[in-house]
Every structure is written in structure tokens, then in C-alpha cells.
Symmetry: C4
Subunit: 301 residues, 4 copies
């Protein structure tokens, strides 16, 4: 039976992956109790179809922080793609490049940054930083990402502690052992390589006071990922960051679904793009610029 | 066990039809994600019963675009009735005529317009047009329907693209192959007949600018089918169309349920008429003119 | 296992009664689509407990149309109790008398009015009239009930037609055959007896204009049963009736549950009285007069 | 499989306890129909995470009526812990002392007050009084608790009658027989011991007028447990009590879950403390004083 929607891919992944890997991936999408809320919230959205516009030409292309993408779809940062398929983030990067979307690479990638860049040299990539206790290490990671052509720095603000992942605890998954799989700190350049044992999984100390220091290290735009309140969004503006990423666990959940290495990722991205194009067509939008909040039935939210 | 309500007919159809046909019919009722919303919305409606009026005489009859019908019930346009029973739209037309309701014939009927008219010559019928890329073909279809006695032109506005029907994709149903079953373009008059291969299933190019041209071709009233927003309804008024048909997928779902060719359709129509008459009686309405919005418990919607 | 709540009695009735009888009783409680709404509405009610009042003495007694009852509980009129147990309404009357509550006897009782009165001579009873097409018969029924000591006339306004009871149709239950079981029109006095074949099950002709005529026939207070809108309640006031009975299908559903003839009815009534007394105690009400709308959490409704 | 959350403990208790004991404990948590509402209400609460504060040091400690506790967690008063494990309230007291939280001992404890105090001499404890019909007995209980070092008097106001516990009735559990298990009135000092047969399970007579008398007997702060309305809360202020305890059945339900006598209770308390600490961290609160209502998404409630 052909896989025709993302739910089909998800079901197949559940069937084929070892239980502990599946739980880790599903659990990884869950920070606290909000995952089900997220899914329910998405299902509550109703579009307001507008008809009798000429939509024979629909262009889903747009730009993000000045760079062109084929549709407003990004692959959110997730850890350790090697758990789902051997080539890990190299496949993800190739699929993102083929689909023309942005791939946000995680601090906890299982491939080195150099290998990821080499596998898909012309794709758009951002680097997600989980701020580390070792400030020298933060500096090294940011500057290495910038010199490798990553176009923005996504800074996670929502992991002062690791949320309690019950399935992982029941499966007795050891987060510290997993971090050893991260190769991001290795480098072909021996001088730059640092042992992954330095990596920490959380950063309770990290606060607004450190933002200026991050800004002093790089000319890349800085995006804060995980902001969820109006108050924190206002503080982000005050600190002159270039953007915020509001709650995107749904995306995270879906982009790791495996299907014969990068071909599956490409298919998933194409399904998303097609569904997006159909939604634009049925709401009478010929370009991203024509999308506005009138297309959503706000009274349902 | 006697079939006493439409759900009983639906259950029997599901049991008797091949799975792919059932999925096609159920799927045909679904444009996007709204079918379940439709059903839930209908179930939310509560009537406000008014008592102690003399309702020994209740008349459900009314007119639609100037023509008399026995109750405000129409058969919405749906494609390819031959999938459910051999006689296809000829049976539907006979049942509609017997019940005294209006039958809106689809562009994608599996019988020719001439056969449909011949099978039930005195019934009220409207013709539903899915605007085609070939303008000459549109003109030919409209004028042929008008000359065959169809009383209004229903123009679908909600299929710039075909919604993604997952079950059809899984069943690997080929929409283009299905269109070949449409005989509507055939004609006893060889000069008028056109090959069905000309028929397109969608019309992204079709827009408000084409409405005046349609109006120039025919004196039939024009009804836009599929309008769902206040903004589009206002544009319809501005373009001087005679009516709009707001979201009627529920109706579409039910009128195709088969039961020993047209006898089943007649029974279904009679059940609908009886339920409508009972609702009028219990809300104290002796005629259609007495129905007003006070009969609905609006606070529930 | 002891039967400790009404749901227990209901479950036992379902188990012991023939399916068609059970469907008839459950269906009889259902006028249209509102039964599930009724149950859900009851479950939404939350009491606001008030504490630290001396509730060692709680009196549930009150009066209804000037007559004393032990608690504000009445047995709503339902037809043909002989379907559930042989003694029919005679058992119901004895149980109501023992519990000190009011029993509203149905026009469609399976016992004669004389037998019902003789079986429980000191109990409080009202008579429910379904207005008949034969006006002489209405007069005879009303005056016979008044002379037998019934204390009020409950006039059903909500059966201009019989709602469609799907289970009865599936079970091929013949309502007219059932009416033949009604013995209410028989009488020890041959002169008064009339054949039950005269009884009609609905009265679409009955309207506000007939209320003065009913009032001219009797000095009993008149209660309209089935009023559901503000507009009809205002008309009831204008027509000088003594009361209205708003939607009580829940009660109707429960009072027919059988358990070894009247002992079961008595137990059910006692459970209701005890539950009512507990609710009064936990809301700090020592008498019916202390009950007011502050005890309900209105924001939930 | 490790027990990682309270639901895991609950499931294990259900599996290991005799059915009647489990029903008694679950039922004991239920006063009327509100238990499911309580659970649903807790699940509706959503925290508003605040990020980029330095939360490397989070202190969950606070004080309650002037006494220090390690986290704002108390063990609510529940009866007869010996039903779940042999050591009963002595284990509970030791676990509470180890966790640094307050244990509110029930009038219906299965151990004597003296044994409970001796088992965990340095723990913080309050005494819950169900006011008894014998005023001399109330005085004796209050003064004995005060002299044994209990730090507050929790007076239950919500049991003028016992709610109807259907499962207990079905299991034919005899509440009076259970009260005989209470040893709280026994004492090493023969002169003080009173037979448990004096204990009553409810107090419909108890009212606001008795509060001054209770205040005259003791210098302990008085907390009214079970207040649920604004009106009663205002009366509590007027009567100069030191606090009220609003609906805490959820807590009651969980603290009796057994797991190898007090080790289980300790684990449960630690899970609660850890979950509380994580919630503080993810909402950017470094101390109890920083917690305020802005952290709750009020629009959901």
C-alpha cells in the first residue's frame, strides 16, 4: 500500500523500529505534557476557503532570514538521527537540499558538521546551539558553524532541565550514554576536535545576561527556540535577537520518520509541500505574500 | 429488519458494495477535512418545539427558483451513479420525480443527459457544471442542458484542485480512468457528441471574471455551489448570480446509498420528507413560510 | 449484590425484561433526540456544598398544589405498566402511597382508574390527559378522574404526532395494538365504560383555543406537560393554567424499572428520597424553603 | 519495570491489594461525585514556561503555619492505613519525616497517637479532628494531640453525613466495624484510654457556633478542611480561624498507595518533590516566593 500521508510514514516507523528507539524518538518530541495539546491544537485549525480566484499558478517559495526556500517548511533540530538510519544527518541534509527547505542541525547530531556540509553543500542550513557550561566550547561551536556556511544560530532556551520522559526511564535509556554517540565535536582538523564527554544535556545557568555575549561572537542572526509566553517574546525583542521559534514539537516528531534512508525524508517533505500548495490553492493564495490571518477561522481557536 | 432511517441504508450499502466503490462514494463526499465537522455540526442543531398550535394540516411544499417541489429537499450533484447500480442516474431521476424533489445532475453523470431526461420527463432538474478548460465545450453543455429542460445552472466553485482522497490513493483508484465512464458528453445527435476525454476534473483558472460570460450564454438562473465565506457570498451578490449553495456534503453522502436500484432512493427520499414533516409539526409550523430562525436553539451553535 | 442506585435497577431490568419490552420502555422515555441531552444536562449539574450548619434535622417534606408530599418527587405519567409487571399501575400506586409521593396516572394506564384508586386509596394522584379527538370522551375522562379524587389534571401538549421510535419500528411494535391493552376507559359502571378503540395516540388538532373549554369542565388545577420554550410558558401564564411541567423524561425512564412487583418501585423511591436528603444535608438545607439557586454552580450550565 | 510516576504506584496497588481494600481506598478518596471532576481539573492546568532565567539553584523549601517543610507538600488525613500495610500510620509518619513534609494524622488512624509520634519524633505533624458528639471526647483528643507536639488542628467540616459509597455498599463493607480498628483513642496511659466504640463517623450537629469553643480549648492554629464556597471561606475569616483546606481529594487518593511498607511512601513523596522542582525550574522560579498566578494559563480554567 502506498504511503500517502505523514501518518502512514509514522505507522511504518513504529512497526519497523526497535521499541526503545521508537519511544526515544516519540519521547524526544515531548517536552513535558504539551505534545497532545499540540496535536489537538493543529487539528482545531480550520481554513476559510476562498474560491473563484485564478490559482492556476501557485508559488510556495519564500525567503527566511534573506535566504530562498521552496516552501515555508524547515526541518526542526533533533538529536541522533543515526538511531533511525545509519547515514544519520547526512541523509537528512541531502533530502532537505533536494526539497529546497532549511535544515536546522542539532548540537547533538550523530555526524560531524563537516560531513553534513560535505554531503549537501548547496543546501540551506542553520545551526542549533544548546548552550554549554564551557564558554570556550560555545565559542568554538558557533564560529565553526559560521565558517562552515550555516546561515543562522538557533539557541534553545527551553532545556534548563531535561523533562521527565517516562518511557525512557522505563526502558532504562541512559541519556549520558547517548550523548557519547554525538560526533559533532569531532573534526577532520585534530586541533579543533573536542571529546563529546564535554557535552551537557541542559543548562540551568543560561539566562538573558548571556545573549549579548553570544551576539559578540558571531554576525549570524540569532533565533531563540522555545519561547512560549508574550513576556519572553517581548524580552527577546528587547535583546535584539532576529527571531523566535514558537513551540514546534509537531515538526520535530515527523521529520525523523525513516524510510530507506533519505528517499523517505524526501517523500515526507514532498507530501508536506504538496499539502501546503493545495491549502494555498483552496484559499485562493497565489503566493506566500497573499497569506494572511483571514484564512483561519479564528473563532475556533 | 426494516430500514427505518438513513443510517440503516448507509450500513447496508457499506455491507453490499465492493470496498473500493464504498470508499469512492464515502470519499466523494469529503472535500478535505470537513466531512466530520459537517456531521457534528448537524448533530449540534436543536429545534425549539412549539406546542398547542393546530398542526393537523402540515404542508411541506414550496418553490425553488419558481418551480414547485413537494419538500425543500434536493439531490445534490454526485458523479458516476453507475458505480452503485447499473441504471445509474436514470434511476435517480425517476425516484426524484416520484418524490417531487429537485435532482441536480452532475457533469460527471454516467448516463447521457438525453437518457436522464427521457427516463423521468416531468421531474424538476438542475444541471451542475464543472467549468471546463475548453470554453466551447462549456457553451455546448450549458445550451444543451437548457434546451433539454434543465431549470437552473449550478456552477461548482470549490474544485480548483482535487482534494487529496487518501482512501482512493490507497486503493489506487485512477480518477482519469473514472472520467472515461462519464457518458454525459455523448448524444443521440452525433453532431453534438464529444469524447469524454475532453473532460477535466478541476479548473484552477476559473475565476469571477468568467461569470459574466456564463451569464451571456444562458437565461437559466445561476447558482454558485461551494461558497463558504461571507466575503465570497458578497462577491456572488455583486456578480448578480441567483443563488449560492453552502456546503452540502452531508446530503451528497446520503443520496447515493443504493437499495434495489430506484426503489431505495425513493424510500430514502420519503424518509427525509417524513422526518421533515414531523419536525415542522413539532415546531408548530403549518407551512414552509412559518419556518424561521426562532425554531433553532442558536446558543448551541 | 444489593441494588444501591437507580443505574443498578435499570441494569437489572434490561437483563430480565424481553428485548421488545425493554426497547418500548426505553423508547417511551425518548421524545425525539433529546434523551441523551437530558442525561448529559443532569450530569453537568454541580451542587455548591455549604458546611457548618446544624443539619441534624432535615425535612424533605413539601406541598404540591396544596397537597403534602414527603419529598419533591413525583412519578411521571407513563403508559402500560402491565408490560413490566402483571399488577401494573396498581403496584405503582401502592408504592407511591407508601413513599408519600405523587403519582401521575397516564391516560394509557393498563388498569382502570377505579382499580388504581382502590389499591391505594389515601395516596396523592394526578391524572394525565392526552386530549382525544372525541370531545365527549375528554369530558367523561376529566370528570371521572375528578370524582375519583385525582387532585390535578396534567395535559400533555407535546404529542401532536408520535415521535419516530426506531427500535419499536425495527421490533415491528404496533402502537395501535398496544392501545387495546389500555383499560382506563373500562369501568365497573357499565354506563360509563367506553371501548378503548376510541383512544387516539396523538392530537395534532389540539391548541390554545381549547384550554378555556378544558377549564370550564373541572375545578381541578390544570398543568401543561411538555412546555419547553419561554414563549409557550408565557402563553401558559396568559391562559391562566396553574402550572407547567418542563421536560422530565429522566424521571419517566426510571420509574418503570421493575423489581418483584411494587417492592422494587418502593426501593427506587426510597433511594431517590435518601439521595435528595443527603444533597439537602451537604448543602446545609434543613427544609425545602431553604433551597435556592445559589446551591447550583450556574457557571457550569 | 521501575515505578516512575504516581500512576505506576496506583496501578501496582490495584494489582496487589484485595478488591474490597482497593475499593475502600479509592472510595475513601471520593466524597460524592467530585473525584473525576478533580482529576479532570488538575489535567486542565497548563503552566506558562518562562525561560532564560538562571535556575541552577532552585529551593522548594517553605514554611507552613510557621514550621519549615522541604516542599509545599502535605499528606492529607486518611483513615486506617493498616488496611494497606501492617505498620499503618507509623510508616507514613517515618516517610513524611524523611521527606521533610507535613503529615496530617486522621482521627481514624489505626495506630495510637503516641506510637505515631514515637516512630518519627522530629517530623512535622498536624492532627485532623472529626468533631465527635461527645464534647468531653473532643476536648481530650485536642489536648492530647497538642501535648504530643502536633502543630495544628485540622477540623473537617464536610462530613455532616457520610457520602454514599456505592462500591462499599456492594462489597457490604460495614463502616462501624471499620471504626473498631481505630486505635487512636487507646493510650499507654490507661487513665486516658477511651473505647473506640465512642467514635462517630459523622456530625450533622456541628456548626459555626462551636468554633469559639474549639478555640477556647487549644492554642494550636485551627484549619477548616473541606470549605468549597466563597461564602463559607468568608465565614471562616469572620470566625478567626488560621486557614482553610480547599478540596484535596487527589492528594488523599495517592498517599495511601503501598509499596513495601514506608519505602514506597518515601519514593512517592520524592517523585512529587522532584516533579515540583522541575515545574519550578521550567517556569523560572528559584524560590516559593517567586511563584505567582502568572505561571498558570488562566484562560484554560
Amino acid at each position: 500500500m502506498p504511503l500517502v500521508c505523514l501518518t502512514d510514514f509514522q505507522a511504518q516507523a513504529r512497526e519497523r523500529l526497535p521499541k526503545a528507539s521508537w519511544d526515544f524518538i516519540e519521547g524526544a518530541a515531548d517536552e513535558g505534557i504539551t505534545m497532545r495539546d499540540n496535536m489537538a491544537a493543529f487539528k482545531k485549525i480550520r481554513l476559510r476557503p476562498r474560491y473563484l480566484k485564478d490559482v492556476s499558478q501557485v508559488d510556495t517559495g519564500t525567503t527566511i532570514q534573506g535566504e530562498a526556500i521552496s516552501a515555508p517548511i524547515c526541518i526542526a533540530p533533533t538529536a541522533l538521527h543515526c538511531i533511525a538510519w545509519p547515514d544519520g544527518e547526512m541523509s537528512t541534509a541531502r533530502a532537505a537540499q533536494a526539497a529546497g527547505v532549511c535544515y536546522i542541525t542539532s548540537t547533538y547530531a550523530s555526524c560531524t558538521l563537516e560531513d553534513i556540509v560535505a554531503s549537501a553543500p548547496s543546501g540551506l542550513r542553520w545551526f542549533q546551539l544548546l548552550v554549554q557550561p564551557d564558554w570556550q566550547l560555545n565559542k568554538q561551536l558557533i564560529q565553526r558553524a559560521e565558517s562552515l556556511g550555516f546561515k543562522a544560530l538557533v539557541v534553545s532556551v527551553d532545556v534548563p532541565v531535561i523533562g521527565k520522559r517516562r518511557d525512557d526511564l522505563r526502558n532504562q535509556i541512559d541519556l549520558k550514554a547517548n550523548i557519547k554517540l554525538c560526533k559533532i565535536l569531532q573534526s577532520p582538523d585534530e586541533a579543533k576536535a573536542v571529546p563529546s564527554s564535554l557535552l551537557a544535556a541542559m543548562n540551568a545557568f543560561f539566562c538573558w545576561d548571556h545573549i549579548p555575549w553570544l551576539q559578540s561572537l558571531t554576525r549570524l542572526p540569532i533565533i531563540l527556540k522555545g519561547i512560549l509566553t508574550r513576556e519572553d517574546a517581548e524580552l527577546a525583542v528587547k535583546h535584539n535577537v532576529q527571531g523566535i521559534l514558537v513551540s514546534n514539537h509537531g515538526g520535530r516528531q515527523l521529520d525523523e520518520v525513516p524510510a530507506s534512508g533519505e528517499k523517505g525524508v524526501e517523500e515526507v517533505l514532498n507530501i508536506l509541500k504538496e499539502e501546503f500548495r493545495t491549502s494555498m490553492t483552496l484559499t485562493g493564495c497565489r503566493s506566500i505574500a497573499e497569506i494572511n490571518r483571514d484564512l483561519i477561522q479564528l473563532s475556533r481557536l
